[in-house]
């Protein structure tokens, strides 16, 4: 019996879809069977990030309304056999589906997968309610800026009211070490202390993510990027491994390393 995890944030543009795609990919890399689900009806793009947009025949709304079987709406990933995607409809809007229909679809898929990753649309309206309806776990994505943290806080408050949902976990996306260390943005500690939920991981701001999205290849596939390592660590933590947080400060000089090893202030 699989676990359904909703990826949400409240604010738009903080990287929900990128995070969904990469956590899904990283879990698949670990050999787990994963189903990605795009619930952003009317503005679908998880298929684009995954590079699967050409293969869509049926979508989530078709499955919900019984025009096709849920299995027919599944798209197999080109890289992994164990990674599937249910795309959102592009022609309808959020009210085309109800939380009950969503729950039914998730429950139908659960026995066949280890993880179902639900990509939630921005906002706290119908689309959010649909996405959360079938979930067992929630991951809140935020970036280290005041507005995103405010919206994440709102979402955490709403998720806490959901009785059948485990307490949400936090992913801080697009962390820029040089800005937060100078006090120009919030740092990860500020975000965690404000939201007061468990930190599942952080992902540094990395140009490679943009390039990968352009190619339709999730960054988690690239083992050399720092963002990729961030996502892979998150996947390992979801699987129950304890992985230390990545050090933020980039390449220290040899001398600084020796100094910090000796316990002197680097």
């Amino acid at each position: 019996m699989g676990e359904a995890i909703v990826i949400t944030s409240g604010k738009g543009g903080v990287g929900k879809t990128t995070t969904s795609a990469n956590i899904g990919t990283a879990l698949a890399l670990q050999g787990k069977s994963v189903c990605l689900m795009d619930t952003d009806i009317g503005l679908r793009n998880l298929d684009v990030v995954m590079g699967l947009e050409n293969r869509i025949i049926y979508d989530l709304v078709d499955a919900a309304e019984g025009r096709c079987k849920v299995r027919q709406a599944l798209i197999k990933d080109k890289r992994f056999d164990c990674l599937h995607l249910i795309p959102a409809a592009q022609t309808k809007d959020k009210s085309a589906i109800t939380p009950e229909q969503m729950k039914a679809i998730v429950n139908e898929l659960k026995p066949d997968y280890d993880y179902i990753i639900i990509d939630c649309p921005a906002g706290i309206e119908q689309g959010y309610k649909n996405a959360v309806a079938g979930a067992d776990q929630a991951i809140v994505v935020t970036t280290p800026d005041t507005a995103a943290v405010r919206d994440a806080d709102r979402i955490v408050g709403l998720l806490e009211q959901q009785a059948d949902l485990a307490s949400p976990k936090l992913v801080v996306n697009r962390v820029r070490s040089h800005l937060s260390s100078q006090g120009d943005t919030l740092d990860v500690d500020d975000v965690v202390s404000t939201l007061a939920i468990d930190l599942l991981g952080m992902v540094v701001d990395d140009e490679e993510v943009l390039k990968a999205a352009h190619k339709g290849e999730p960054i988690a596939m690239n083992p050399n990027s720092r963002a990729s390592i961030g996502y892979r660590n998150i996947a390992r933590r979801i699987l129950g491994e304890s992985v230390p947080l990545m050090a933020l400060d980039e390449k220290k000089s040899f001398f600084a390393k020796v100094k910090s090893m000796l316990g002197l202030k680097a």
Partner: protein, 259 residues
């Protein structure tokens, strides 16, 4: 001062005279007792007999003793009705009966009884309600009486109370104390860094973000916010001095209720 004392003495003498009279008519009808006390003249009304019996005796007594009160200065009296519950009409009737003796002015009717509604209201307004939670963005936590929050108020979250607010955490959102007009309410927080704070109808807005020079909260140590009387502005003071403020407010209340 001298004048007051004489009037009290006078009352005492009158009360004594009345009691002597009562003795002579027999103790069987003794539902109305008039006594001189430190605060002046108090009329005790029996709370066990029927209301009709009571008003009857009261009427008799007042007409009979009119001449006792008849001349002399006007006297403020307190009426103590013990454990009897009277409604507004009955209260008016008793007052008018007593004030038939022209020199009596009913200052206050004291009772040991209040309705459940009043009791609940009183309990609400003096109660301290505590919560262990985080008040997140978009959430409003409101109580009647005082509020004790074990947790933070995040930016965008609001706590409000008709009385005081005590926060054992960080206040980073909005706090409204004394929302029904209690200007003596305080907002107390372990870490005070609010967006906005209000007491009664007085507001405090945090300095703009770009004006803040240093990172970190507005106050690094526990403080409380109160309305400073001279400028009617919200002012912050260290929490360890809250007892002085409380003592001062209590003293002021005692003075104002004693007048």
């Amino acid at each position: 001062m001298w004048k007051v004392r004489t009037s009290v003495e006078k009352v005492m003498i009158m009360a004594q005279a009345l009691e002597v009279k009562q003795m002579s008519t027999g103790p069987s009808k003794n539902f109305v007792t008039i006594k001189g006390t430190k605060e002046g003249l108090t009329i005790f009304l029996d709370d066990q007999c029927s209301y009709e019996t009571l008003t009857k005796e009261l009427r008799e007594k007042i007409t009979r003793d009119k001449q006792v009160f008849g001349n002399g200065p006007e006297v403020d009296v307190q009426v103590d009705i013990g454990y009897r519950y009277i409604n507004n009409n009955q209260e008016a009737e008793i007052t008018s009966l007593l004030e038939e003796a022209e020199t009596i002015r009913v200052k206050e009717i004291r009772t040991e009884v209040i309705t459940i509604e009043e009791a609940k209201k009183q309990a609400e307004h003096t109660a301290l309600t505590s919560f262990a939670r985080i008040v997140r963005s978009g959430q409003v936590l409101e109580v009647k009486g005082d509020l004790l929050l074990l947790g933070d108020v995040n930016p965008g979250g609001t706590v409000q109370a008709t009385g005081d607010i005590y926060i054992m955490g960080m206040l980073k959102g909005t706090a409204r104390a004394g929302i029904e007009g209690n200007v003596k309410a305080v907002v107390c927080s372990a870490v005070m860094d609010p967006h906005q704070l209000s007491i009664g109808n007085t507001y405090y807005y945090a300095p703009e973000r770009h004006e803040k020079k240093e990172k970190g909260p507005l106050f690094p140590e526990p403080v409380y916010a109160y309305i400073e009387k001279q400028n009617r502005e919200i002012t912050f003071e260290k929490t360890r001095l809250l007892n002085q403020f409380k003592r001062q407010t209590e003293a002021e209340e005692r003075v104002s209720s004693g007048e």
